[in-house]
Symmetry: C3
Subunit: 262 residues, 3 copies
């Protein structure tokens, strides 16, 4: 986290149009500098000027998916850590095929999704389940471990409890607040934060991802503590980004709650 | 409204990119679960996993319009209620032709627009008027009744006062606050809310639409009551979504102000 | 500014999808009426119903760029003032070529960018520098003057201090707050505000642009003054738009801080 504030890395963020604004403000809040660009005609060029890349499968089109693919390939060539957010991958063949193709072609530094998304990705088959379902618990851990081993990526499975694993070590993170589920793009914002932490710490992807997940969870708790009477999920969204803005490394050390599985 | 909180229906929302984030947070606020997807390659597949569909003509492209059309057709086949928001339909032949084609091919459960948009849709001709103009009053009622009879949809005409009609019964709703006009996407958010209420109550479209219009109007009043000194339309937007989040069925019963026309 | 509140001009805003919502709310906050539309099949038609046009090179695609080009050409034919925001033009050949083509074909009333963007545009060559870099100081002034003379546009260079020039007279504006850098789209919002001021005062582009830059800077200061303990850049964004909403002409007269260069 200190590296992030010092390095202020530029992060190429191919976010879906629903949550792009929140992801950009979150990247600014954590000390990174966002660039959004999704067209195949410029995606790789933009990536090459950045220290990190995140791609989201939300609101896809053939053009955007082609842009992502070019950016991810180029990131691989340049050794820039790339993060995949397989939004709704289980609900759409278009998204699943795009995810498979990128996973076949390139290695991601990290993959962040909920239980249903990561289970679908593991099975590489349509499961009909949607974006918000979470197949947590013991199965969630197996899914995450298997996907990490199979892809070489650090896998982050978010749900009631979050799992972070590189296929060997697995952490369970208990920070967070259930109200995060009621903010669109809370998952996308975590993906962006993971991208920023990885960009600042490319050689320690597991630790960077774990720190990002703890940080976001702590911010979710703090956002809830700031919620005044009569406030709802719109205010919560603002408090969440504000909490990322005000978080300092000591907070992260003091408030992170995680444990190694097993 | 109780059905909505219980069923937590998944709503496929093809929103324009200006207001997609607000629509998603509003759907979460009211208890629904949003999925955004606009590409023809996945739109119908996404719809089939949902209980409701809303489509907005804002920021159109040929691709998005094709995606909407596929989703609306598929919703018709599956009996899923679809809501049309003809944003700016009077100002653009592209939007008008897309609206006409969808109305010819499919039956919408509801149509939500301002006076100028619904008048343009009724006349099926370009009228040069813009997005925010409202041709209210007696003419507004005639327009709404005629459009409802002609399309088979429940028509919601929003303006100084709102009209909700299925072509036989017409309600005048006097909830709401003029500051809603100064929030981009207030209309889109109402459309999303109507989509959620219809998804939870597909067999009573008139009552569901009326409840959604009253609920949004009440939230507009409450958002204004929460406005602190120095706050403007950005804070009002947050208060509006927060108000949807905190609204309970008893509030709706107690504060709804509507009457049957005639 | 009084003209703006009186005329309530319709502004066609081709914003990128990251900041479109903020730009629309900002236009509503200042008294204008936004229409967003980027498709070549409707862009020119939409422009013809408006009093002003703004185009942003952020998140480009071939389709969007074609839409912008058609809108800008049509604005030129009709004498509608158009504002260019060359977001990230130095980081992408796609954006640079689009900017060059529009500058060759049409005359913009104003161009708004940071130092790196305007330097890149002046050199009409890729410089590899990114979106947030600012080449301020003496060079910034030279860049702005040269670009204004070469394009016939009022040039607004934003950074630590802002420069507004028509190539003859140059103003230095010292309103503003450094926290504006940490809100995505603060530049885009200023571009939208310039578009609204020009739409209301098409015959005095230099004065209108100067007033818009001062107004936005004052709002940036006021937004910071409203920042409560624990608030960050998400709240700051809301305060910024709220400040535009509550600003009155007397505030602008009293708090504007600018001087003629030289």
């Amino acid at each position: 986290m200190e590296n992030l504030r010092t390095a202020q890395p530029r992060v190429h963020c191919i976010a879906n149009y629903v949550t792009a604004n929140d992801c950009a403000n979150l990247l600014l809040a954590c000390g990174a500098s966002p660039i959004m660009a999704d067209d195949p005609q410029e995606a790789a060029q933009i990536t090459s000027a950045c220290a990190g890349l995140t791609v989201s499968l939300g609101t896809p089109s053939a053009r955007r998916l082609e842009g992502m693919r070019a950016a991810v390939r180029h990131a691989g060539e340049l050794g820039i850590p790339a993060v995949l957010d397989p939004v709704g991958v289980g609900a759409s063949s278009l998204r699943m095929e795009a995810a498979q193709r990128m996973l076949d072609e390139s290695r991601f530094a990290a993959i962040r999704g909920n239980g249903a998304e990561l289970a679908a990705l593991s099975e590489r088959a349509l499961n009909g389940a949607g974006i918000d379902d979470a197949a947590q618990g013991a199965d969630g851990l197996e899914t995450a471990l298997q996907l990490a081993r199979c892809t070489g990526a650090v896998v982050i499975l978010t749900g009631k409890r979050d799992i972070v694993t590189d296929g060997r070590t697995a952490y369970r993170v208990s920070n967070g607040h259930e109200m995060m589920r009621l903010v669109t793009g809370a998952g996308c914002m975590l993906t962006a934060l993971v991208g920023a932490y990885l960009a600042a710490n490319p050689d320690r992807p597991l630790e960077a991802a774990l720190a990002a997940v703890c940080a976001m969870g702590i911010c979710g708790e703090r956002a809830h503590a700031h919620l005044a009477c009569g406030e709802g999920n719109a205010s919560y969204r603002n408090h969440l980004i504000d909490a990322v803005y005000t978080l300092v490394p000591q907070d992260l050390e003091r408030e992170a709650r995680y444990a190694v599985y097993g």
